[in-house]
């Protein structure tokens, strides 16, 4: 298969996985649309670079999701210092662009995630994806204890956010 043919095949397969890549970008990436697009491009490039290593041991979509998530975590690590920290003080001013889901719980989740900083959002993302504390520690370069402690603190903050949002009638 020539490079051009491989590229065409790759593009068609990646395009099928486009929504999930985009969703990963939204979760792990940044708040700004242009940053989401940057991350999307970085993920596509990573996929293309490691396309040769895909031997069909898992489904293509699983492999895409795995590469996308790894790239997104690396991306967030690189950019975390540039991320604006959103605290409860900023709460009223934070905007949400996650309203493209029909599930109310997911909408709620997005609204809360939107108010977390990139570090915390990535950690919650890993938790939501079903990773164990050990795996999360590996991804975030923290100890397992630190991961558990941090996740616990995030859950406390999320609880407070949740209460405020409920009081305001936003959820």
């Amino acid at each position: 298969m020539t490079t051009k043919e491989r590229q065409i095949k790759f593009v068609a397969e990646v395009r099928r996985c486009d929504p999930i890549i985009y969703r990963v970008c939204k979760l792990y990436g940044c708040r700004m649309d242009e940053s989401v697009e940057d991350l999307y491009q970085e993920i596509v490039c990573s996929l293309w670079e490691s396309y040769d290593t895909f031997h069909g041991d898992s489904s293509f979509s699983t492999w895409v999701y795995s590469v996308a998530r790894n790239t997104a975590v690396s991306y967030y690590r690189r950019h975390q210092l540039r991320q604006p920290k959103v605290t409860l003080v900023d709460f009223d001013h934070a905007s949400s662009d996650w309203a493209d889901t029909s599930d109310s719980l997911v909408t709620e989740l997005y609204k809360m995630l939107d108010r977390l900083n990139a570090d915390d959002r990535a950690l919650v993302g890993l938790y939501l994806d079903g990773f164990s504390s050990k795996d999360m520690a590996e991804y975030t370069h923290l100890s397992e204890t630190a991961v558990r402690t941090r996740l616990s603190r995030i859950k406390v903050r999320l609880k407070k956010m949740n209460d405020i949002l409920k009081r305001k009638g936003e959820i």
Partner: protein, 343 residues
């Protein structure tokens, strides 16, 4: 009281369901979009690879040039003339009989002559070749033997070095003052008759003032180095043509025309023109210039300032310079190593 945590379990299930659902959403990017991303990625990859190669090449070339300069300037210039035992014996013979030909004093300084000083005055050697030195060999007629050639060489070499040492004294002062010094030196009895002949001949030919490459009119200077361009690290190479306007005084004024390419922005080259001044204490040159640079193809302009130190070996010039460019857009400053050749 322990703060209450949000139970994320229901959110986690909803999230995972949502992920499943997202597979059904139509793609936001077209095939053309993805192909464009890959194309850009390939361009970036090639660009970074080329830039890496240029950096590595630039650093390697700079190191090589630096090592060469250090070797030539420091190591070789410090090496005294090596003499074989036979040469030493012949020198001794010359020295023992030299009183008759009045070259004993300069010969005593032969060991001080270094390859550097000999090379500096290589043109005076060619002038010496035209002299008739048969009389010098007369005292050695008794020893005229299969060793004739070596003796001849040594004697000739001795006279050459005498002249070299004398030239060093004279050339400590150049220009009009140097000419006066030369006249004084010729009038004094410190030189052998043959040394005087050589000096007179050199004076007639004005060789004293063109014996060093720096005094020649034009030289090409190729330089390369590391600079910061528009806030990013970069490497650059350039070529300048330097024409010396005043070649007879202690300070040389010159014009410089150049072109420089900056590798972090391969589309850009800079054309420059500068006027400069150099101080030349015979071998180690300090120079600085002020010039204008135009960026092609955007035609932005910049003013730049260079300060440089260099060393001359025969027709070659080795230098290190610092350049600072004042410009809103071009902005480049850094260190460059250069090799020049006198035409």
């Amino acid at each position: 009281m322990k703060d209450e945590e949000l139970d994320l379990a229901p959110y986690r299930r909803a999230w995972q369901d949502e992920m499943e659902r997202q597979w059904q959403v139509p793609p936001r990017h077209s095939e053309e979009d993805i192909l464009a991303i890959l194309e850009q990625h390939e361009e970036r990859r090639v660009f970074h690879k080329r830039r890496q190669l240029l950096w590595v090449g630039g650093i390697a070339a700079s190191l090589l040039a630096l090592v060469t300069v250090v070797w030539i300037v420091w190591f070789r210039s410090e090496q005294p003339v090596a003499m074989s035992s036979m040469e030493a014996q012949l020198h001794s013979t010359v020295r023992s009989q030299s009183v008759e030909i009045s070259v004993s004093q300069p010969l005593a300084k032969v060991s001080e002559a270094t390859p550097r000083s000999v090379r500096h005055y290589d043109r005076s050697v060619s002038a010496l070749a035209s002299l008739d030195y048969a009389d010098v060999l007369a005292p050695f007629n008794d020893a005229w033997s299969p060793k004739t050639f070596e003796i001849e060489s040594i004697v000739f070499d001795s006279i050459e070095k005498e002249v070299v040492l004398s030239l060093q004294k004279v050339n400590a002062r150049v220009g009009h003052e140097g000419r006066q010094a030369l006249d004084e030196h010729l009038a004094a009895d410190s030189l052998s008759p043959y040394g005087k002949d050589c000096m007179s001949l050199l004076k007639e030919k004005d060789e004293l003032y063109v014996s060093d490459g720096f005094y020649r009119n034009i030289y090409l200077n190729l330089y390369g180095g590391i600079c910061r361009s528009r806030g990013q690290g970069s490497s650059a190479v350039g070529l300048t043509v330097i024409s010396v306007l005043d070649e007879k005084s202690l300070f040389q004024f010159y014009s410089q025309y150049g072109v420089q390419a900056i590798f972090s922005q391969p589309e850009i080259c800079q054309l420059s023109y500068a006027k400069g001044v150099a101080y030349c204490p015979r071998c180690f040159v300090l120079q600085s210039d002020l010039g204008l640079s135009a960026e092609v193809p955007t035609m932005n302009y910049a003013i730049f300032f260079d300060i440089a130190a260099g060393y001359h070996i025969d027709a070659f010039h080795f230098g290190l310079k610092y350049q600072y460019m004042f410009s809103r857009t071009v902005g480049c400053n850094g260190f460059f190593l250069s090799v020049g050749y006198h035409l």
